[in-house]
Amino acid sequence: MPILNRRSFIKAAGVLGASAALPVNLARAADKPVTVGFIYVGAKDDFGYNQAHAEAAAIIKGLPNVTVIEEENVPETVAVQRSMEAMIRQDGAQLIFPTSFGYFDPHVIKVARKYPEVRFAHCGGLWQKGVHPDNAGSFFGYIDEGQYLNGVVAGHMSKSKKLGFVAAKPIPQVLRNLNAFTLGARSVDPEITTTVIFTGDWSLPVKEAEAANSLIDQGCDVLTCHVDGPKVLVETAEKRGVMTCGYHASQAALAPKGYLTGAEWNWETPYRAHVMALQSGAPMNNFMRGGLKEGFVKTSPYGPAVSDAAKAAADAVKASMLKCEFSIFTGPIRNNAGEVMVAEGTVLTQTDVVLERMDYLVEGVRGQI
């Protein structure tokens, strides 16, 4: 039961007024008013993962006939189940974006079963037909494409041939990025190694700074990371005069000298697709994945330090990625103990779910899991 209060009424009235002024063709596509809920696991402005989501949500907020409701700092406990239910029962939400990976199993699944008429578009999960409810689904971006390009640029720019990667936890999503980054760099020069440091959690600023310093002390001259907020790493590296590649969002402003490029999310694309489907009554796309080509991820503009050779090389790879002619995980790929993980002649395309189960470090990564 949606409870219409004064505020949402005013909002709805305002939206109606706005859509009346729109060109007819635009207004028609969005004639059904919908309420969409966003749930974040951390603060909306963390200079990283949650901010990338919140910024895209702000764009959705501007769409005609869409009311956006948000909640931040919702832990992966019974709290998120109740927040989803509250959005449905108190605000009449028809589509919910629970944006943290940990929300999916069991929380989203449980609530989706209870409310079959509401759509749940989860970020990062591995939705499977028959196993998970049909009104739930998962979307994710192949950000490893951005990390591969980061690696290509880093490989060109590194003088010491040592790169550094600060990671939160050794889980498939992180390992895939780390491996793509390393493969990208080694495509430039097979001598290059990447040293990885796991901090153990998604947001540990002091540890991340310490990890960055240790990597720099060991001679790494290009750093990147996969933690919730790359701010600390980028600032620490800039202070010590080494280069960085960004992650989640653009950190170019934090490192005017050393920022090379970055792998950024573009969540607007899947959000928009889900909202449009809801408005037009189209069935839900339960398993949505996309990379650079589909506009799920993007790269930061090159920083001033990047050489022309690096730009040309990265642009060439990017162009073939956009034409779907490029595959990052093309055999033979060995792990860093020398065992063959992807056999010669095997090409793993991005959609291959084997990649979402990655549990090894490729050759050239220094570290253990």
Partner: protein
């Protein structure tokens, strides 16, 4: 001048008086928080109405509140029971997560059992683990004089590290991919909700029942009386021949067992496996609930519901007024600061209470003299 107070009313006053500091604390909290909102130009009445609506305004809100209160009742006992014997334990979080872990691995290591038996086994494992962990603090305190407050805090940190290490290392289910967890609990063994119209899991019933049992233990049993003697004066307790060390240990083990049980319900009714989401601060909130309830098990139920309500209301504040999540933290902080500070009045209240109770007993003298 003298006022006539009927004996019944005097008795009633005597009974109701202990709630006076709590009532004053809540009133002060409302006042201070309103001033805060007003100063930030946030509509005070609307916010107040939303907090009430989000916490206690509907069946849905009540479910929400009680779901959050359920683990707090048990973790608060982890503080309140040892407190009867004079110990301040603040490491409930560690007992909860290790208890949850023990519960999560029990079905993996046992043959298939009927659900009810498996629940008993899981609860037993969780309680044993939690009891052991807090018992360790009590044991170190009695054996070596290691302060139990700091000892339990350190043990809690160690427990969290061990928990993360095990869940993301040796006990990790390889299929858990991006959310490192232990192997999922089979559906047959998951604990459900009380009813479809009252969507709260059975952990709430467990919390209330255990609090009631704890009440009987500390108020109406010989052991409970013995705990209070130890808590009041250890020397006196030794003098009358009480087994002080054993009594202290027993309160710690029981408290830890309660926290472990909370962990079991988090795993069996909410998470479905042990993972880092179990570290949600229930143990820390439990400390505040216990102190606010003056370590009285029945009052713990009320205080846990109060805190659960505040936490439940945050969701509505965010969505309707666009307030940051930290608003709820401030409200909780102000509430507990007040609850603890108004404790100062409790000494006076105790005095008045005895005074009035005596008046109540002798009807002929039911007169309060006011100079």
């Amino acid at each position: 001048m003298s006022i006539r107070i009927p004996p019944v009313a005097a008795r009633g006053l005597a009974l109701g008086l202990p709630a006076l500091p709590t009532v004053l604390a809540v009133a002060t909290t409302v006042l201070l928080f309103s001033v805060f909102l007003w100063a930030r130009e946030i509509p005070v009445l609307e916010a107040g109405a939303l907090i009430y609506q989000g916490a206690f305004g509907s069946t849905f809100s009540w479910e929400n509140t009680l779901l959050r209160a359920a683990p707090l009742m048990l973790t608060a006992l982890c503080v309140a029971l040892p407190a009867r014997a004079g110990l301040i334990i603040i490491g409930g979080e560690g007992a909860l997560v290790l208890g949850g872990l023990a519960a999560a691995v029990t079905p993996l290591w046992l043959p298939a059992l009927p659900a009810s038996l498996m629940w008993v086994a899981m609860a037993a494992a969780a309680m044993a683990m939690g009891g052991f962990w807090i018992g360790l603090s009590g044991w170190m305190r009695q054996r070596r004089g290691v302060n139990e407050t700091i000892g339990s805090l350190l043990l809690s940190y160690i427990a969290l590290a061990v928990f993360r290490h095990l869940v993301e290392g040796p006990l990790r289910d390889p299929a858990s991919l991006n959310k490192p967890s232990t192997a999922p609990l089979p559906d047959a063994y998951s604990v459900g909700v009380i009813s479809d119209t009252f969507y709260v899991h059975w952990g709430l019933v467990a919390g209330v029942v255990v609090c009631a049992l704890a009440h009987v233990l500390v108020r109406h049993s010989v052991s409970g009386f013995a705990f209070s003697i130890v808590g009041g004066n250890v020397r006196a307790a030794r003098m009358i021949g009480l087994p002080v060390n054993r009594l202290v240990l027993v309160t710690c083990v029981l408290g830890g067992a309660a926290a472990g049980l909370a962990g079991m319900f988090e795993v069996a009714a909410v998470q479905g496996s042990a993972n880092a989401a179990l570290i949600a601060g229930y143990g820390t909130s439990g400390i505040l609930v216990a102190f606010a309830a003056r370590h009285n098990p029945l009052a713990i139920i009320v205080c846990a519901i109060l805190l659960g309500g505040v936490e439940a209301s945050g969701s509505l504040l965010q969505r309707r007024l666009g307030l940051p999540d930290a608003t709820t933290l401030i409200l909780e902080g102000v509430l507990f600061v007040n609850l603890l500070a108004w404790e100062a009045l409790n000494g006076r209240v105790l005095h008045w209470r005895i005074h009035w109770r005596e008046r109540g007993r002798t009807p002929a003298e039911g007169v309060v003299q006011h100079g």
